[in-house]
Symmetry: C3
Subunit: 139 residues, 3 copies
């Protein structure tokens, strides 16, 4: 079994941002030299997500609006976690709604995606350095 | 390490449907001849889910109702994504709520599930051919 | 490829509880003797979650409140699934919101987590024995 691990670092300008990281996932696969297997892509912070969806800016707006209005509103006063001095308790809840990791299948030397599928980093509490681990495993 | 990959195609009669695909997951494991490892089951579209839960029709009704009323209502006018000409923006949000993939553990030559656990394909925008990748990895 | 599988059993005092299981995940990795690979941690019941987040009791309160008020309220009368004689239909919906499994990356002989990340079992219908599978795979 071959493995290779990369770490990506993001320091977003806005507190919430969605970033397409598909090319970095493919780069990790290529460095590992894997034809059959998978790539694990996982946020290394409790206030971020990794997910697979569409590269379309209207959808990204919809996701941010949906997290605020249907999942976990930012309003710091709502949360016990913020009694620790934080103001970001909504971010872990948003991380749990969407998830913090994906597994990308690898077949015949490529990321085995269907139409429109891309890998995204969802930053829910940025403006500081945050990391994502990308680990390829296979043969 | 042994691997085997199958692709399933679904063309549902209704736009939203939940389909038990456990037997196809076991078939992939058997074809791969894997005793210890895992099976990755992943929707290849941004408007569908794969999840593990209960084979019970009342629950499936509850899931569809919950996605409409507590997660992302279908109403196309709510979403920026639909300005591209689509009307299905709720489907990616539902895909992200439930997730688009699962990893099934394999132990001693069988899917290592607890009581009631089965694998399901959740179609959130069907009535056209959609694919699921099933990839077994192990020894 | 090396593999090792452990099964954890929980019988919670309260019906909903959040339990830190990181040490058991590391124990499985160590028993397997894996330096590079991953650990799959997956609830074996349809009414529980496994997730990665923060070891902070205020956040755990927030999660339980959020599941009741923003995800799936417990109220048994709302759900068709409860016509089977159950009263726990909210638990599968909560399991699907947060997810029932995680993959923990292993690098250089340790769980490759960022700051604050820990693995938790989320019990959404306890007070009876429930199991979690922990399976390490790698080299």
């Amino acid at each position: 079994m071959k493995t290779h691990t990369d770490y990506l670092t993001f320091n977003t300008k806005k507190r919430q941002e969605i970033i397409d990281i598909t090319d970095a996932v493919e780069q990790c696969r290529a460095t590992a030299g894997i034809d059959e297997g998978m790539v694990l892509v996982s946020a290394m912070h409790i206030s971020a997500s990794v997910f697979v969806n569409d590269h379309e800016s209207g959808l990204w707006q919809d996701i941010l609006h949906w997290l605020e209005h249907s999942s976990a509103p930012w309003d710091p006063a709502r949360y016990h976690h913020n009694e620790t001095g934080e103001d970001n308790a909504a971010a872990p809840l948003r991380s749990m709604t969407i998830g913090h990791e994906v597994i990308v299948p690898v077949t015949k030397g490529r990321l085995d995606f269907g139409p429109w599928q891309r890998v995204f980093y969802g930053e829910w509490d940025g403006q500081r350095p945050k990391r994502v681990i990308v680990k390829a495993l296979g043969v």
